[in-house]
């Protein structure tokens, strides 16, 4: 199936980002196509490339690795602008772009799952 995902919280503070990542990996393992992961509201913090937690999972890097496999990763441009996240500081394979991407993902997906608080 084609599955779309939205993440509404930033890394570390809430489990949402971790749960979304586990879900995406499990969906890929079952042969599904992830049409995209849309990072909305505080979720845009997930694509900050400067996360550097000592001895810990690096959430931005994990997402970037999924992006390298061809999964579209988009952080909402408006929310990013509010919060000081720009394309320059985004991890590789993540795009800062408009809400239209969310609409596209939904329109392409057979299922859509949101992770948040």
């Amino acid at each position: 199936m084609k599955i779309g995902v939205m993440v509404q919280e930033g890394p570390y503070q809430h489990q949402a980002s971790d749960s979304a990542w586990e879900f995406v990996r499990a969906a890929l393992a079952r042969g599904h196509e992830i049409v995209g992961v849309f990072f909305y509201t505080d979720g845009v913090y997930n694509v900050n490339r400067f996360m550097n937690p000592p001895g810990e999972r690096v959430i931005g890097k994990r997402w970037s690795e999924l992006g390298a496999q061809g999964i579209p990763l988009v952080a909402c441009v408006t929310d990013s602008t509010y919060r000081g996240i720009t394309q320059e500081i985004a991890v590789p394979n993540a795009k800062i772009s408009g809400l239209g991407n969310l609409a596209e993902f939904i329109q392409q997906a057979d299922r859509f799952v949101t992770f948040g608080d």
């Binding site: 749960s19 499990a26 393992a29 599904h32 299922r111 949101t114 948040g116």
Partner: protein
């Protein structure tokens, strides 16, 4: 429909709220702090027993293990993330965040 609940039933009304609207037979997935509702013998056990009377109830194993929840209310089905995905294959998701 698959209702998903990720909040503790002690401090949040999420589980109670979605039970009011979920039609009988609709599956319910507990994950993150939502899995605390699956523990046996607690003050909120009645709420989950009410859920089990009308719904298949699933709980994510990794979240149960993280929280050290060992004794579950009978009838709760423990699944891994692959099981979560299987449920999503079968049902559109109603995230009751």
């Amino acid at each position: 429909m698959l209702f998903t609940v990720n909040k503790s039933p002690y401090l949040r009304g999420n589980l109670e709220g979605c039970l009011r609207l979920a039609p009988a037979g609709t599956p319910l997935l507990l994950y993150e702090d939502g899995v605390y509702a699956a523990a046996a013998g607690t003050r909120v056990e009645g709420l989950l027993r009410q859920a089990l009377a009308s719904h298949p109830v699933y709980a994510v194993e990794a979240d149960l293990k993280a929280r050290g929840i060992a004794r579950l209310i009978e009838g709760v089905r423990v699944i891994d993330y692959a099981g979560f995905v299987e449920l999503v294959e079968q049902h559109p998701v109603v995230p009751w965040l």
